[in-house]
């Protein structure tokens, strides 16, 4: 294999890997706050990208992206307030079905608004053929945007959860909701906030990715499955490990093209999901005993 080809697979793998990691972190934020897996997580990415694309003709690109992230964040909050907040101790099965139903509704609404067409945002710098030479290989500047934005988001999130009072309160809710409530933390609002946060990062990722991966109304479920694979691979709830797991999945998927036809790519990711669930459900980096204490 030529170095050029290798580097192309590599950068594609890294790009997708970051996207999967962001979706996985979105899962983790909500899971940590509520114990719920939000099956509509992929739809946030789709909404972010599609909204920015629709706004772009009316305003400059950065403004369109910021507006799209804000709108998606509001939708995330509304989802929690309307459909989840008032349920009294719902069963896991009930929550799974509700979030699946919501993902269908968001997708169908997107189909109604935007149709089936595949769209994309313009490249942030240059165009689809412009490239930057790094160590002898050509990389699209958009790839650097993706890596940069995702890395910044991950850093800010981890600082937020480690250092800020609000972030610490959210972790407290995750560790023990009742105890957090007794300490005077408004757990319900923290849960709304977790939906907003994961919608926001999903939407931001959906915007930076759009020039490379394109956006379409039905991109959500595929992303959700990959994001979930990554979340499990890293150990559910562990966001730093999710980044490593995301890059791993992205690269495996990207290089799999060398041995299998493109149409089998999805099968690989899904098979990895099943294998991890069967063999190491606590994740590659997780601890079995700790995982046994959590409610799945």
């Amino acid at each position: 294999m030529s170095t050029e080809l290798f580097f192309q697979y590599f950068s594609a793998g890294i790009t997708y890997g970051f996207l999967y990691a962001i979706v996985a972190i979105g899962f983790n934020i909500i899971y940590n706050a509520t114990g719920i897996i939000n099956f509509a997580q992929g739809e946030f990415v789709m909404l972010g990208g599609m909204t920015a694309i629709s706004l772009y003709p009316f305003m400059p690109l950065p403004l369109a992206i910021v507006a799209a992230v804000i709108i998606t964040t509001i939708i995330g909050a509304l989802v929690e307030i309307i459909f989840i907040r008032w349920l009294d101790n719902p069963s896991v099965l009930r929550m799974i079905i509700i979030t699946i139903g919501l993902s269908i509704l968001i997708r169908e609404a997107a189909l109604f608004v935007w149709g089936e067409s595949v769209r994309s945002l313009p490249y942030f710098n240059g165009n689809s053929i412009s490239s930057i030479n790094i160590m002898g290989a050509n990389v699209s500047p958009q790839v650097l945007w993706v890596i940069g934005v995702c890395a910044v988001m991950v850093t800010i999130l981890s600082l937020f959860f480690q250092l800020s009072t609000l972030g610490r309160e959210m972790r407290a809710c995750a560790a023990n909701r009742l105890a957090a409530t007794l300490c005077g933390i408004n757990t319900r609002n923290r849960i709304t906030l977790s939906f907003m946060l994961s919608a926001a990062i999903g939407a931001a990722a959906g915007c930076v990715m759009s020039p490379i991966t394109y956006s379409q109304y039905d991109m959500g479920p595929g992303l959700a499955i990959k994001g979930f694979t990554v979340a499990i691979l890293g150990g559910l709830g562990n966001s730093m490990a999710a980044v490593a797991a995301g890059l791993l999945l992205g690269l495996v998927e990207s290089f799999s093209v060398m041995v299998l036809p493109q149409s089998y790519q999805e099968i690989i990711a899904t098979s990895i999901l099943l294998l991890v669930l069967f063999i190491r459900p606590h994740g590659l980096f997780g601890n079995k005993d700790t995982a046994a204490l959590k409610e799945f």
Binding site: I96, I100, L102, I232, Y264, F296
Partner: protein
Amino acid sequence: MRHLKKYLPLAVMALMVTAVQLLTSYTGTAYYLTQLTITAYYGLLITGLCLLMGYAGQLSLGHTGFFAIGGYVSAALTTHDLTACRNDFFITLLNHAHLLISRHDIYGEPLITVKAWPACLAAIAAALLIAFIIGIPVLKLKGHYLAMATMGFGIIIFRIVMASTYFGEADGISDVPAFTLLPGLTVSGDFSYRTQNYYIAWGLILTGMFLLINLIDSRPGRALRAIHGSPEAAEAVGINTARYKLLTFVISAAFAAVAGVFLTHFNGGIGPSEASIMKSVRYVAIIAIGGMASLWGALSMGVILNFLSLRGVFGSYDDAVFGAILVLVMLFAPNGILRLPIWRKLNFRHRDG
């Protein structure tokens, strides 16, 4: 007599099935029978899934995978021409076992394929085997993990049929021949077979309901409900919970596979949409509306909603309607719409289970 009471709904259902056929025949609306036949096959899958979800308490978001395995294997075996490899050892063996048939395709070209009966049995056997193998690790999982694993299984089946030329990629398999069950009894979408196919499909579902009604009221059926309610207490009375869950998974996969085989021969083909995750979600929705642990609830909701969907009542909002139903039912009537308090207020008597 006490034992026969539980079969009363079956007798009522048989009468209704006959009445509907006679009604369509008198009113000249026999074209409804085609959709009612398809509805019945989906109903078969739904009742099997209801046993798994409602009684054994195991969610499956990939059940359409077993339907697809049944349909696709039977379709592929009965349509792929074996003339080119007729001298291979295995094919010769099949031929000597009288499992092959020479016939002509719709363009009059001669071809050699597997006969419908052995193809049907092979398809069901394949589904059972896969259910058994996949069931062992999958059923160890709970909650979100179980949901994702079953959905993952469904996605893999969908991607395999989309990616392999043997299963026709995005086009699926067409020109699947009719399936003669017995002389004079043929599963076929041909106009002249319409009435008998209606009775084949509904006869199959009556048989399925008979088996399931017996099961849920028996020793193993009680054990399943115990596993659903309290797995630890179920083990404590000597129930091998892993084995019971697995057997139930295999039985419900068999229901789905049989439905897949029959519907494929009835439709004369199968496409990847039959294997899509959206279909699996739809079946789960129907069972949730019917009240989870209610075979009759699941069957009646399945018949009503699938029939309306096939009639095109929901138009291009088909998926949206099912999504909305899922959300609304889970928000406001998590025990199914048949158990909403309003029915009790109307003094509408119903028996749970």
